[in-house]
């Protein structure tokens, strides 16, 4: 959020009260957003959340219903795409099938009347490591190569802002990881503002400096990836970025620095500054914590749980060995099922389904959310079984 305070300069994108409605459907709610120059900014959300529409309004491919788009301090709302210093890497790349790679990359330069494109095109093809492919047609290239052509074709124009619409969606997982690093490298090298639309939370967190999580045409939360992950402001963000255990709880004590909560008979402590909602004694909040921050101890070792940790007793229902970790679903009476991810360092052989266990974690790793939200917001099918844990 500190990024938004940057004063206007070259490459800034400012959206003022921008919205888009199609008939009675509102794709994007009035939105204010400042994307500082030189940053790698991600719009993250499930399909239909308005992220692509927002991107297309910046590109000029979609006309906003209300509001304005500013690029480097200039209002471009009324300008057609071909007059904006913005280039887009399209989903599925939209390479021109009748032109070879060289002409695809040279397209923007030629349209702007640049006389000698040879040197620039060759340099750009080298940057994306496609020099030898210059005379091939797009359909003769692999998905990853096509993706790099799309990036080269956009970047060669030195846009103030590069827009990327799910640029890695069509690639397989391994190639996607590789291209994420590649794009990050290119962005650092050229220093252009990148606005990246994705539904893949891991992709957004890997690449972006700032992530805006969108849901239902609104920005739910904006911030650095670590900040969003550690301190989600809504249940949607808590569930959409990684996995969270969310428990309805009641505030029983509130002093200046910490809240004491009861949930399912257990007493939990929550630092006041980690609570995203004003909570007074007697009110309800949602207590959340990440599965990987929780430690699991067999009931026989309950005495060994460090003093001051939040703790809850339960019984292991499912234990799945993943390799790097073991994922447990623990049934906690009065609360429901909670997820726990344990690193496979010193596996306790007693932690099998049916075993009585104690979950414990540092109060610092608890976050508090407004109780008037759906516990299930932001849970998606992609994350499948992992999510069963918080279907409490």
């Amino acid at each position: 959020m500190t990024h938004t305070a940057t004063p206007s300069s070259g490459g800034d994108v400012r959206l003022h009260r921008i919205s888009k409605t199609y008939g009675s459907f509102t794709a994007v709610q009035p939105l204010d957003l400042t994307i500082p120059a030189g940053s790698f900014f991600a719009l993250l959300g499930a399909s239909g959340c308005g992220k692509t529409t927002t991107l297309r309004m910046i590109a000029g491919l979609e006309e906003p219903t209300t509001g304005t788009v500013e690029l480097s301090g200039q209002d471009v709302t009324a300008l057609p795409p071909y007059k904006r210093q913005v280039n887009t890497v399209f989903q599925n790349y939209a390479l021109f099938p009748h032109l070879d790679i060289y002409e695809n990359v040279a397209f923007g330069l030629r349209r702007r009347g640049v006389k000698s494109v040879k040197k620039q095109v060759e340099e750009m093809l080298d940057l994306v490591q496609l020099g030898p492919m210059a005379r091939r047609r797009p359909q003769q290239l692999s998905g990853g190569q096509q993706q790099r052509v799309a990036v080269a074709r956009a970047l060669i124009n030195h846009p103030e802002v590069l827009l990327l619409d799910e640029p890695l969606g069509a690639l397989d997982l391994k190639l996607r990881r590789q291209m994420q690093l590649e794009l990050k490298r290119i962005q650092t090298e050229v220093g252009i503002t990148f606005v990246h639309v994705t539904h893949d939370q891991e992709e957004a967190m890997t690449m972006a400096d700032t992530v805006a999580v969108m849901n239902g045409g609104r920005v739910e939360q904006l911030g650095a990836p670590a900040e969003l992950y550690e301190n989600p402001a809504t249940t949607f963000v808590a569930n959409f970025l990684g996995t969270s255990n969310l428990i309805p709880a009641e505030v029983t004590e509130a002093d200046g620095t910490a809240l004491v909560l009861t949930a399912g008979g257990a007493t939990l402590r929550l630092p006041t500054r980690r609570c995203n909602t004003p909570a007074r004694k007697g009110e309800k909040v949602l207590a959340g914590f990440r599965p990987e921050k929780v430690a699991l101890a067999h009931a026989d070792d309950a005495a060994a749980v460090p003093e001051g940790h939040n703790r809850m007793a339960g019984r292991v229902r499912i234990a799945s060995f993943i390799g790097v970790s073991t994922q447990y679903v623990v049934d906690v009476p009065g609360v429901g099922e909670l997820s726990v991810y344990e690193q496979n360092i010193g596996r306790d052989g007693r932690l099998v389904p049916g075993a009585d266990v104690v979950l414990h974690w540092e109060p610092e790793h608890t976050f508090g959310l407004d109780a008037a939200q759906s516990l299930l917001a932001g849970t998606t099918d992609d994350e499948g079984a992992e999510l069963d844990g918080e279907a409490a």
Partner: protein, 312 residues
């Protein structure tokens, strides 16, 4: 034996047992050819055989009373060409003009249907095909009424003095449209327009709309986008459409017969009258072969020139 043979691969079985097993895949391999057979027979009976018959007719001499005999009289070709070359040139000319007009009229229409019609797309497509619900002859006769001397179209053209312009250009005569080149070309254009629109629509509709967006995003104005992206990508449709229009138009005789006069006779009219009225079968057959050869040559040249082999 049966117990051990069952799990063994067919190769290791004795010849007696293996034979029926080997024949089955062979029969399966022949299935596609059997399915092709009716079509091939049809082509042989109704295309190849008449072609051979016509070829032999074209080199025969004789008369209807005495009968025709194959005398390898190739001079018929030269005589026919020498006598009827103006009709040949006219046919190619009319067909070319009609094809260009079809392209100019059909392209915007196909573009509209492919990109702008939205939910009206199917309705407009039906309207394009609708003329096929009546016969070619009836439609051309309707044009005779539309272009009639006392009709509103000719009246309006006269009132606007447009017919003076077209007369000066030599495509109409006096204050009428019927029995002029304009009428024949109008008829050809109208009748073959759907053959232009349908392939154009098919190739335009296949273009990913995001390519237009990408071109716009890369600083191409709408006109440039059309010239650099849309039109080149629609070339397969342009080639298919022009061929489907030009080839039948060059051989057509109905439009000239109904809308033109003796001065607008096309090669089709000549062939038709040689076959059915003059009963000079060798000349008619020779003219048919000359038309076929001319069209084949022009089409081959055109496809080479347009360089769309790798797009089609």
């Amino acid at each position: 034996m049966t117990a051990t043979a069952a799990p063994a691969p067919p190769d290791e079985q004795s010849d007696d047992e293996a034979l029926p097993l080997r024949r089955t895949p062979a029969r399966k391999r022949l299935v596609p050819y059997w399915l092709l057979l009716p079509g091939i027979l049809w082509l042989i009976v109704f295309f190849a055989a008449p072609l051979v018959y016509q070829a032999s007719t074209s080199i025969q001499t004789g008369s209807l009373e005495e009968g025709f005999k194959v005398t390898w009289h190739f001079a018929t070709y030269w005589d026919a060409l020498a006598e009827y070359w103006p009709q040949f040139v006219r046919s190619v000319g009319y067909a070319a003009v009609a094809t260009v007009l079809c392209l100019l009229l059909g392209y915007p229409l196909a573009y509209l249907i492919a990109f702008k019609a939205g939910r009206w797309r199917n309705l407009v497509m039906i309207l394009v095909i609708a003329p096929f619900f009546t016969s070619f002859l009836i439609r051309t006769l309707a044009w005779k009424t539309i272009l009639a001397d006392g009709g509103p179209v000719v009246g309006a053209l006269n009132a606007l003095h447009l017919l003076d312009v077209t007369s000066a250009l030599g495509i109409t005569e006096g204050h009428r449209v019927l029995a002029t080149p304009l009428a024949v070309v109008c008829g050809l254009t109208y009748n073959f327009l759907p053959f232009m629109v349908l392939p154009l629509y098919t190739s335009l509709e296949r273009i990913d709309p995001r390519l237009h967006e990408a071109a716009g995003d890369l600083y191409a104005r709408p006109a440039t986008t059309f010239r650099r992206v849309t039109f080149p990508l629609s070339m397969p449709g342009v080639v298919a459409g022009t061929l489907l229009t030009f080839i039948p138009a060059a051989g057509d005789y109905i439009n000239s017969e109904l809308l033109g006069s003796t001065d607008q006779k096309m090669i089709g009219n000549v062939i038709q009258s040689q076959f059915l009225r003059v009963l000079d079968y060798p000349t008619a057959a020779a003219l048919s072969f000359l038309l076929m050869a001319a069209i084949l040559a022009m089409v081959t040249l055109y496809i080479r020139k347009s360089g769309t082999e790798d797009l089609v």
